[in-house]
Each structure stands twice: as C-alpha cells, then as structure tokens.
Assembly symmetry: C2
Homo-oligomer: 125 residues x 2
C-alpha cells in the first residue's frame, strides 16, 4: 500500500497544551523540512512552549537528510529554551541509523508519544 | 512544495493517555483508509480509549471518499463506546465540503486538537 501519493504542502504542527506535536509520515522533502523548521521555531518562540515531540512511527526509513533535519530542529528549539523529543522510532529504523553511522547525537528519544510527554513534563530532558 | 512523495504505508495512530490521535496529511488512499479504520477500531476495542481525535489540518482537500471514511470511523468508534472528534479543518475545506453537499452529519468537529481534547474530557460529544 506504499504507492506514491500527493503529499501535504507542509507538515502540521499540533499544539497540546504547552507541547507542540509533529507526526512525520512518509518522506520529508527539502521544502517541507525547511517549512517544518520555520513553523516549529516560530511557534516555539511565539508561544514559549516547553517542548516539542516529533513522532516518527510513520517513518519507515530515516536517511542522513532526515537525521540532520531532526538534529537541527532539536538544536534550534534548545536555543529557544524548548526541549525536543523524538518518539516512536521503529526498531528497523534504529538498526539502519546505526548501520549508517547516524547515532543522532544530542537527540532525546522516547518509545512513544505518551512517554515523550512524561519525559518533557518531568524535565527529564 | 506540493510535489508528489512516497507516502507512509499507514497512518500512525498516537496514544495520548486515554485518547487516540491521528494526524491526517496529504491524500488518503483506499488501502490506507481501510488500514486506518482497522487500526483505530482494534486499538479502541483493545485499550478502551475514551475518544479519538483526527486532525485534518494537514489536509487541504477533502473529497466525498475522505468524508465517508471519517464518517465511518466516527460510527465505528461510537459502536465501540468511544467518541471521535475531527480537529483542525481548514476554512477552505469547510467551504468545499458544503459546496459539495458534504455536511458530514454525525461528525463532531473542533477548531484544533487542544479544543478537541477539552471536548472529549468534558464529555461534550
């Protein structure tokens, strides 16, 4: 069922109280990645949210590009005093990342969104 | 930036406490719609969640197919004692739906995910 389809112009950023949630699905293209970074940083600075959760359970392949984008988002939000947690990484994705030598340093991960929210509320990041 | 891209094999269903959250993005194909309905109904019946929030802020065009899918999901979850709220509909989408004669009867909507969660927690559905 993984046929090509017209993707969204941009990835929606959902507000959950003082947390921003992004659900990445399928492939992330350059334009969408830049748009997402712009949306997240502006939303974080405007609303002063405590954290950002990026769920990648809908992503079945992470390449060096997406890895860099996620790392940049984490760094950007940290500069804006918000923590970013990557949630829902598939085991196969983790295996691929390590095999590619992409250990995503500086990225905080959680098993799922619930645990990511707990992590952010407990200040565990 | 709305170029075609390889879409996800399925739409991820995120658990937020006793709420399931789905962020629809881009187009929903038949296979993905069936998969989503199957995932949601099985998750609802297995975990006994109180509600389902489907955010469509990433959807810039709702046709009769997606309208029917959303309506079916709402009916299915209601039979399983859970309420479904559609969140984040774009004004242009609402206008298109009404022009198409698709008023989505039986569907509860909220302006955004936060308000949808409030609605579900207050039992306003």
């Amino acid at each position: 069922m993984n046929q090509p389809l017209a993707g969204p112009a941009q990835v929606p950023v959902l507000a959950l109280g003082d947390i921003l949630l992004v659900s990445l699905q399928g492939e992330l293209h350059d334009g969408m990645a830049e748009q997402l970074q712009h949306d997240l940083t502006s939303r974080v600075s405007a609303s002063g949210v405590a954290g950002v959760v990026i769920d990648i359970s809908g992503v079945d392949m992470v390449d060096s590009f997406l890895g860099r984008v996620l790392g940049e988002i984490a760094s950007m939000t940290r500069l804006l005093a918000a923590h970013t947690v990557i949630a829902g990484m598939r085991p196969a994705v983790a295996m691929t990342l390590v095999e590619l030598g992409l250990t995503l340093p500086g990225l905080v991960t959680a098993l799922d969104v619930d645990r990511a929210l707990e992590l952010l509320s407990s200040g565990g990041t």
